[in-house]
Symmetry: C2
Subunit: 712 residues, 2 copies
């Protein structure tokens, strides 16, 4: 926070670009500061005006004698650079550039944005924008903004901070939340993010005590690793981040490119990052509302079991349908709970979950019984959370229920959620009571179920990540891959299959036994068991099969000798100028299931490990899972669990189960290698990675050095 | 309608079970009728009261001298039967039974419900309920109901009729719609549906001119075929049905079972039915609101292309993301459109879709330009619909845009939808204007996209079903399967593989060439080409492989002779008492892709055809698709298109494409057979159905006769 303190809590704001034209962004900003009662100094700037809105107006930023924390710039793009030079001269620490006409407008704008950034960097001015709606601090009435961010309704104070790369759309999130009674701390529209970006602001908000939860709309980030770090720190700090990633489909990304030309990156990588940080992904306005309501209680389900209780069987069914899809289960009630319930709820046969209180149960006369029922449900060891379906219950019934819930809620750590579909005009008082008791109310049972699932997933993720971090700290570095890295750096950008496999073996990934032979030297072949595979080794022939450079199913020594001769011959004919080092003879894997594993060293996200179904499944299913490297065995196991082909690994049609643990260890090892080698490896491709009954075996592999290997 | 006219438009209503206790359902009903100004006669019934709420109170139903159209019964369950006997005596045509205490309460209640139904049937009284909230006719102020259905807010009049099996939850749909300004015609909570059910009411509402659209919440139906027919008639009549099916997941169905013990059926079959009728499935309250808004305009997208225009790039991205997932595409703009747009919208480089009007564009001064831009977009032949993103645009801007849209809308058949996230307190006037112009407004771009997709899918389905119906009418019955049906009926409940394949071949499904041989008679084998498969034929050995009754890959005559002997021998040892008819020798299919196809003759839905990936894929993917029989080749092709393995049929890894048309023809033929044989076939299993380069071949099949074959 301290780094951005003057930006987020400015004591003085200059606004350049005010005029009698009310629509001018600068004019709007000054009026908003005045109208909302901003307590700091306001300096309007325009050489043509002695006064503006009753304030002294200055001819330039440098003409202001007092210190200025933030300059808001709303002049046309061409004039922005001059204003920025003045800011630099005056040593203003922050400027908020509302003006458009930069990167988003094409070649000229890109150049202008670069010059602007250069002036800012040289002058020590940090920037928000350009091409943005600005920023608002609701607690301090800072309105360094224009447009919808300064229009009615005024947001109320609260613990939510909103960051958005799109002012026009992102502020919709604030409006939807405001209608639901949610209060705000900071709202920052970052526009082109020429300098300060969303990730840096997340980091600042983690240090802001008044921010309890962060909501962000982003189209892209240039630094996935910084987002990973920020996300993990937010998780450790217990400040949930709800993130809406725009441009997640092909046409969405195309629309994003035409919008701000953001680096939208690969959605798969973002989703991996969300899983690795506990960032809660949202994709609808009401999800922001629902999850903020849910997270505000700071109570988390203890397990995935839910007790559902209410006056509407249909609501319980809808909850159960939605719950099953997001992993929330209607739990069994134990005998003690059933005994406690049987006296206080209308029992139709056994007392089971969902608990049907029957129509009209919510009333003053039943409050004592209801309280007993709720306490019994909450005490059940299988119950991780409780959902009360008021459904269409009217005014008096809802108040009767709310009074009981208000009494019970402080005594439990388990979340209680409520579904009410009655109009606020009828049940407003009850809703208010529940809100004050920290009990979130949802307008549909499905939304209640999904909000509980978001809480549960967040809670689980926090435990997982803490556990994994703990285990990694205990582990010594598993592998010494210094020699392997040296061999990559010295490879001059090209590694053979044999070299690649040797490197991966050093990194802890089991590879098939094989012997490198040349036509002159076949020593060691006698140690291999038939059947064998022979593959030509050449740095210039990446696609060996197409070159006739692979023979499989070699059954005996005679076949082997002719196979070696044949693949060499084929390769020479296929690529007459290729350097041919020799032939790699490998034991052939005859059982197990083929996976494909690999590493992509992404510009934005760094090394990412991908695993998927191999063979024909790869094309059929597009079945893959990825995570940002490095990670531990538990994460690797989660990756495997996400695969559609996962069940095959446990053995289908009576086949023996395969060694999933070994596969997970190999992926974790690959991830550590990918991280350690991130400066010199561009890509790793292990295809196939056989999972067999007692291990895994990389049967073919290619490590592709980075063009920047010299940087290592 | 005429059949249920007195129920839905009663001229007189008796209410049994009124008392000073205000909470009594009957008391609530009478008060609601009075409070809402019902114009018909009201007859409260209770022997203890001379008057109730200022009305003459009658000792019994039979004591009323005038005719009574509907009796509302709110007495305890045990007393319901006596009241119903009075209704029968008085020849009352309809009773609405609000009381609970029937099927939903266990064995005693089930018996009570059966006796109740018997009295009603014998007395000619048709029933709504029991265990329901009753029914309301908003246009005629009929409130034969209690609970939330009679509480504030009063629903306004409109064209939507709501049917719900769950009063408590279903009325939430009405409340959500009411908050969105949607008006209603009939609201009917059907409860246990002992007599009149949702499907019969749908049929009645199709004849009700004042009903424009039907929304239904159901947990199950006992007659899937009637729902299929009603759905198709609704589609032909242009009255959309939005249907929420509760209990679609395992735990949802379990919750439903404990709720009303409805027949929830298989969700897959429901989904097939939705596709075959154009029924629009919903699963959230806001979907009901959104789709009702969209369908109210009665304009349908001409194709899947959408032009997006607005002041918020982020909103366009969110629309594009959501649109891609439901098949709505941002269309290309043709040269003419671009030329027309270039003068009137701020062009950043080329004028492309989404059209970025840039912040502040919506204002009075730009109205003429905006109108030109909108007309240009709507005239584009690629544009099937237009989405205007107002996003957070404020009061004056929204009014400026609404005025233009109101002018343009009457001139186009293409749907125009609007996204606005500004609070109604600010932009209410603009929203009102758009509503009156029949332009639906959505609170998120994603919801706008999904609503357009619902319209598009409905429109396509209507065309598909009309086309298929047309083609089927032209076709003569393709196959004469009379002999096949006879053989099934005469099978005494059991058919061999050879018999099954012969039946399917007669039905138009290609089967592998094979010869039935016995150890004594091997005539005809010389006509088959090696390799061959030999399979034992026995009505008592359904699982041939387990019995050692199958030999594959038989390469020559010598191998064949020993294979025949071997499978007979194995079968005899495996099942010493089995009748063994002989051996089926088939040509072996060596290429192509294995599907599984079959028929399930479901109690609720009748014959349903299922197709899925065969072999190991079946277990891996659970990849299947189904439709209610009979259907044509186009529907069969859609089934195949839904399979995850679909791409393999087009040829992967350089393989030749397989004969998808032949597969579709086989499925359609199977569906016609399934329909024609519905009285005598319980199940058909074709496994595998090979799709090869020039056709399909059923390599193994079993037709399982129905136990009720004698009914044929």
């Amino acid at each position: 926070m301290s780094k951005f303190r003057q930006l987020l809590e400015p004591g003085s704001i200059a606004v350049v670009g005010v005029s009698d034209e009310a629509a001018r962004p600068g004019s709007q900003a000054v009026r908003a500061l005045l109208a909302n009662g901003y307590q700091g100094k306001i300096y309007p700037v325009n050489p043509k005006y002695p006064q503006f809105e009753g304030l002294s107006c200055y001819p330039s930023v440098t003409a202001i004698s007092e210190t200025v924390d933030v300059v808001v710039i709303g002049v046309p793009a061409k004039a922005v650079l001059t204003v920025l030079e003045e800011c630099a001269a005056k040593k203003v620490p922050f400027a908020v550039i509302l003006s458009g006409g930069f990167r988003e407008t094409g070649a000229e704008g890109i150049e202008r944005e670069q010059r602007m950034l250069q002036i800012a960097r040289e002058g020590g001015v940090r920037l928000i924008g350009p091409n943005c709606l600005g920023l608002v601090n609701i607690h301090s009435d800072v309105y360094a903004a224009f447009g919808s961010m300064t229009r009615a309704p005024k947001l109320k104070r609260g613990g939510v901070s909103l960051l958005t790369q799109s002012g026009g759309f992102g502020y919709s999130i604030a409006l939807a939340c405001a209608q639901a009674g949610i209060g705000f701390r900071h709202v920052i529209a970052t526009g082109n993010e020429s300098d300060i970006d969303t990730v840096q602001l997340i980091e600042a908000l983690l240090e802001d005590d008044a921010t309890e939860c962060i909501v962000a709309y982003i189209e892209g980030t240039n630094d996935g690793r910084a987002l990973l770090d920020a996300g993990r720190r937010a998780l450790a700090a217990g400040k949930p981040i709800l993130l809406w990633k725009g441009g997640v489909t092909e046409q969405g990304a195309r629309a994003a490119a035409s919008h701000t030309a953001s680096m939208t990156g690969s959605y798969d990588f973002y989703q991996a990052l969300f899983k690795q940080t506990g960032i809660v992904e949202i994709g609808e306005l009401h999800e922001a509302v629902d999850y903020l309501r849910a997270f505000a209680s700071a109570k988390y389900p203890q397990g995935r079991g839910v007790v559902i209780m209410g006056v509407s069987g249909g609501s319980a069914i809808v909850f159960a349908d939605a719950g099953e899809r997001v992993g929330m289960k209607m739990c069994e009630l134990d005998a003690d709970t059933q005994a406690r319930l049987s006296g206080v709820v209308p029992a139709i046969g056994a007392v089971h979950n969902p608990i049907d209180l029957t129509a009209g149960y919510f009333n003053k006369a039943n409050q004592e019984k209801l309280e007993k029922a709720i306490r019994a449900a909450l005490d059940d060891p299988n119950a991780g959370a409780l959902c009360i379906n008021l459904a269409t219950t009217g005014k008096s019934g809802s108040i009767a229920a709310a009074e009981v819930l208000r009494r019970v809620a402080p005594d439990t750590d388990k979340p209680i959620v409520v579904f009410s579909s009655a109009p606020p005009s009828e049940v407003g008082a009850a809703l208010q009571m529940l809100d004050e008791a920290g009990i979130p109310v949802f307008p549909s049972p499905a939304r209640a179920a999904r909000a509980l699932a978001a809480l549960a997933a967040y809670h689980e993720r926090r435990a997982d990540i803490a556990a994994e971090a703990g285990r990694q700290a205990q582990q010594a570095s598993a592998q010494n891959i210094g020699a392997a890295l040296d061999s990559i750096v010295q490879s001059h950008g090209s590694l053979s299959e044999a070299q690649s496999k040797a490197i991966l073996q050093a990194a802890g990934i089991p590879v098939t036994r094989d012997i490198f032979v040349t036509s002159g030297n076949t020593a060691g072949l006698e140690n291999l068991s038939f059947p064998l595979v022979a593959k030509v080794v050449s740095p210039d022939i990446p696609h060996k099969t197409e070159a006739g450079g692979v023979k499989v199913g070699i059954a005996n020594r005679a076949e082997l000798d002719s196979a070696i001769a044949e693949v060499l011959d084929n390769a020479r004919r296929h690529a007459p100028h290729a350097r041919i080092d020799g032939v790699l003879v490998s034991e052939m894997v005859r059982s197990g299931f083929e996976l494909i594993a690999g590493v992509v060293n992404d510009e934005v996200f760094g090394p990412v490990v991908v695993v998927g179904a191999g063979g024909i499944y790869a094309e059929l299913l597009g079945d893959s899972s990825c995570r940002l490297a490095p990670f531990g065995v538990d994460t690797a196991r989660q990756m495997l669990d996400e695969l559609q082909c996962r069940r095959i690994l446990d053995g289908v049609r009576g086949a023996a189960p395969l060694d999933v643990d070994a596969a997970a260890r190999a992926l974790a090892a690959l991830s550590h290698f990918a991280w350690d080698a991130r400066h010199c490896v561009r890509e790793v491709d292990i295809n196939p990675l056989f999972v067999v009954e007692d291990g895994v075996l990389a049967a073919d592999a290619l490590v592709v050095p980075s063009m920047r290997a010299d940087l290592h």
